[in-house]
Symmetry: C2
Subunit: 194 residues, 2 copies
DNA sequence: GACAAAGGGGAGCAGCTGTTCCGGTGTGGG
DNA sequence: CCCACACCGGAACAGCTGCTCCCCTTTGTC
């Protein structure tokens, strides 16, 4: 993906590929998939032909960046989650951070939503995230901190739902208020209707 | 909106207008704003010129239908909300019904989300809904059934967030699970962190 | 029943999108 | 230093969109 061993590429080809990835990362993370490929080529200082020789399609380019973004997110989440005093606190901080991550990268935001329901191949990315969520949910249940019956899919769905508010550019405090509501709904309160 | 007193329209004009509204309502409520105007004209058995003489733009056509949809929704919600034993039950049933309404009408779903944050003119429609939500929230607060600090805007934001799951065609039971989580988060549980 | 004028139809325009094609250019091995 | 070939740029294509234009038809009045 980063280099080809059998056929060493030319220097300009490699630097162009890097420029494309840099420009695409900036554009997609700021405005999502809707960005015009022409703009990416222009920002990278490159022609359309160059872009399309390095990546067979716009989707392939997005997917490459998406894989990196998810990997970065999951790694960071694993790190900041490890040293929490309780499993509940870990889950809480994961969900909170997920929102700031979605705000920072609109492509991830859109993909996370799509992957929540679509069984399509996009889930290649989600498969990096899901195991982590399953761990966090299981640990929180072991602690009896989570409302009985809550599953990993519910947490992912909640992430997609709250992501909608981020996508709509809702003010940060409005998103935070909804986050509090959802978090308190996830917390085990015991004495509620079935 | 339905008739012009000063200038009595021709019979064919009126029936065409009705056919356009009928076809547009069916298409937009099923698939949202993304529907091609050509398809609406075709389904109405009408040409493009006809469509655009009756409505200055696609947006105007959507807005006309949206106003009707919101009015119908609010009226129905007011009716089914009136005879509830508690204010909490009323709010709960309103939010639940809101989801089935958004599932039935994708144009409303999309507009509700947009209106939640945009201060744009689209809010003409939301202005029908907001007073009702404010009433329900105030009544629930008077009953001490709502988590302290929850405002009408929070409920509207929650509606938009859950609507996202409907938009993604999430299975009905997945949406219902998130609904339960959110509802229990809205309910006053007293002993939670600030 | 005739004749303005309101109304209708749909091809065509302008603008956007992702993608392809091909003549020219720069690289780097010999 | 030279030349083949990987590589580059961007004009052009195909397909979609909302919308307009203009010639023809229908309506209802006198």
């Amino acid at each position: 993906m980063t280099q080809q061993l059998g056929t060493p590429r030319r220097r300009d080809a490699l630097s162009n590929r890097a420029a494309i990835l840099r420009a695409a990362a900036a554009a997609f993370s700021e405005r999502g998939r809707a960005v015009d490929v022409r703009e990416i080529a222009r920002c990278a200082g490159v022609g359309m032909g160059t872009l399309y020789r390095h990546f067979p399609s716009k989707d392939a380019l997005i997917e490459t960046l998406l894989a990196e973004s998810y990997a970065r997110w999951v790694e960071q989440a694993r790190r900041s989650t490890r040293d929490r005093t309780s499993a509940w606190e870990a889950l809480e901080s994961f969900i909170t951070d997920a929102l700031t991550f979605q705000r920072r990268d609109r492509a991830v935001l859109e993909n996370l939503a799509a992957a929540t329901t679509d069984a399509a191949g996009l889930s290649v990315c989600r498969r990096l995230l899901r195991p982590l969520v399953e761990e966090l949910v299981a640990a929180a249940h072991a602690e009896r901190a989570l409302r009985p019956g809550v599953r990993a899919d519910d947490v992912l769905a909640v992430l997609a739902a709250l992501g909608r508010l981020v996508e709509l550019d809702a003010p940060a405090d409005a998103v935070h208020r909804c986050l509090r509501i959802v978090l308190s709904g996830l917390r085990n309160g015991d004495g509620l209707e079935p």
